[in-house]
Symmetry: D5
């Protein structure tokens, strides 16, 4: 299960509510209907509780979608669920801005809990 | 009726309030007075309830306005009504930014219900 | 009186609070002190009640300032007054961003009633 | 005293709360420590009560700092004090974005009263 | 201790709540794991109480991280702690936007007290 | 034949080699295979001999492709042939930059005679 | 005759072939057919011989077209002829980029003699 | 062999030397050393002789590199060789601008024959 | 004489024809007619022979124009003459792009000898 | 000697004159006079003969300047000499655009042999 690729490290400032924003502009998966590649920009924002996501493991986790046939809405919500399960943040938001297909662009944004900051 | 062109698929995350933003920069219709073509950029944003709009059907639905003579305000509100009727979203917003005519640019924005996120 | 140049058409969606934004980047009038031409970008935003402003008549109305000597603050408030009188909107805002004179740029923004959306 | 350079004219719309934004991108003064020139972009925003600041007099007032050795924080607050004293606005904000010195950029923003609009 | 490099000067306007924003686009430190250099843009924003941070001393303080192996989250929170200890501001925010590593960009934002303006 | 839509007016400066560049960013035709609409930006550049192309007639000429199924390369060369036949310029170049289809963008550039200036 | 508005001053460096580029982004004239205002950006480039054009007189010269009904190609070539007659430059180029009318933009470029630099 | 995926259609204007530029911004292959994905923007420019490359077949041809481990220089020259062999153009240029790896960006440009236009 | 402010250092690569481009965006002098400040961006490009201009001395040299009343064309040619006299380059070009005055922008470019590279 | 850090790999297309452009936007060294850090963007362009520079070794080679006190002109020419010695290219160009110091920006460009393409 690709969620197992995610690793964390201890948050050294657990008493302060600070914000981490991560941007990966080279996300690619496959369209489950046509098998054609999809491309998008992933932005993840959160306030950590006890753990932060380790960036190299996040890179491998996101790369694991490269050969997956998965819909826009599904992949965004799956990444949200996986990160919340592994990182247990105060809040966390995932946005994926997919490149145009058939002249139409779609951006999906899903969030866990409301932002304290 | 062009509304019949719109198709939906089941929202797989009905318990989460997430946002979908769709952008189609190649909208064209006709001016009802002069018959001259109008061009604009359509942006649709919504939070789904049980259904999401299928993008390919949305492409054909928007293309169906190509030979229609229709005013800026009318086309924006019509697209809003059609999408709300077919998708039954929590909320939905349609914005069309029309290209300049006579040196004047008009953007019309209409919304159904207020945004929860 | 130049206000008489403004024409309206019936709002076909009087039960919905939607927003219309109109931008005219080729506004020109004269400085009342020096007679030198002023240039600016006019942006008009409003929510209609029963009537919408007709764009071609708006073009002629704005062109009628071409030979008028009038101060920045005066012209912005005058356009606001004229549009509110003719259109009777829920709210309406006029902003004019004037080009630099003597190395200084001024933008004047005036509004009638507060925006519902 | 350079404050005396500022002139005003009567606000013709004293019953409406509208906003005036003035931008002067060619501000220059001297560093009080090194005598080296500083450069910055001044932005002044306010809602007038009975008087508006006359732009030509404002140009001369800002030019009067050209040979003054004065700190970033001091010049911003001094311009605020002078304008408030002369214009008696409902509220007024001064922002100066100074160019980089030693690779570091500083922007100072000071405000009198809170914005009604 | 690098905090000792920070110097202050007296705030000449202690009765006004104004904002100072400082931007240093040439921050560099080392990755504690690989020893590879990291680069980022530091933005510091605050409202002073009795003291302002002196910019030249801030430049030397930030340069002192050049040979430090330190994580993104740690360096951001350390700069926040040092500035708050030395400047005693009403509130203070530190944001560092680090350049991409492995195709992934991270921005960390930490704040002391909530902004009054 | 749509070429007949093009009108000309007399060049008042036939003894000077000057350049005219015309840009129409709202070109649309149909894909001859799929019937789907194509969109592009047309740029026409030329040096007139005795005649210049009249802009309003050019607008109608270009609009006449709206319902035509025609390939990228064909439409570009056809517009070149039509303009050369009607205007008899010293030289003339047509470039059409078509919007992305299937994630791929194509620009076609064809020219009659070599540019004297 | 508006050419008489142009004034010159002596070129203090007649032995060096240097280049002067002048840009006026607020040109406006009238369409000779419809009476509607046209707007454009004028760029003048030249190498002086014994005289340079005085900028304030150039401003008044260009403003004198404000109430003239004149075609794009005509106004560009007329400005070229007037400047060449008054300034006697080594070479001189006039380019006017007119704003879109009917969705179509035209730029006219005319030149006297070939550029030595 | 992936070259077999490329299809052509007859050039309808074989007597005119015109230029076709094709841009595909979603190219991805794998690093032959690390197996990590590479991303880049492919630009192909050529003048056809008797045949033009068919865009849908080009899309599939470029997608076939998705699972290939291949160096930057190799992939650029291979695409050039394949297109020249299949299209027999007058000249053809391939440029791939690869995204940054380790903070370093590389663009490779290879060309067959020299451009006639 | 302000030329005396310019210092040089020995070119360590006198056998190679390389290019140095220097940009100072904070140039200011006074209008000799009105006494009003002028602002501009100075760009100096050259290939050194035996000496390079020292940047700190160049900064002070350019600052020395701050209180000088001097025309656009004069200041550009004077800087060219001073630098050529002090640096003895293979070739050297000075360009000053002055900010708009009366809505008109002027850029003056003067060069000594022709560029070898 | 830091030149020894550079590694090469065999050019697989020695019979074709193609171009490689490499950009490293995170170059940093020290000012030899003040010890203050300098920052710049390095661009290297060349046509290989038998060898190409290996990018990871180039990264380490450029990082080796991090603690070097070296002038702008010296570092640019040194990188050129080192790359030419190790890669033996047909031609090679090095450009470094250094960030502003004292408000002045310098870009140094040095080249070995003239570009064949």
């Amino acid at each position: 299960m690709s969620r197992d690729l995610l690793e964390t490290f201890d948050n050294q400032f657990p008493d302060r509510d600070y914000r981490i924003e991560i941007r990966q502009p080279e996300f690619t998966s496959l369209c489950p209907k046509t098998g054609q590649p999809d491309f998008g920009v992933v932005t993840i924002t959160y306030t950590p509780r006890k753990k932060c996501v380790e960036l190299k493991s996040l890179k491998f986790y996101l790369q694991a979608f490269r050969d997956n046939g998965i819909f826009y809405e599904h992949v965004t919500n799956t990444i949200l669920d996986d990160l919340v399960a592994v990182v247990s943040p105060q809040w966390l938001k995932v946005e994926i801005a997919f490149n145009a297909r058939g002249g139409i662009t779609e951006t999906v944004t899903a969030q866990f809990a409301s932002s304290g900051i």
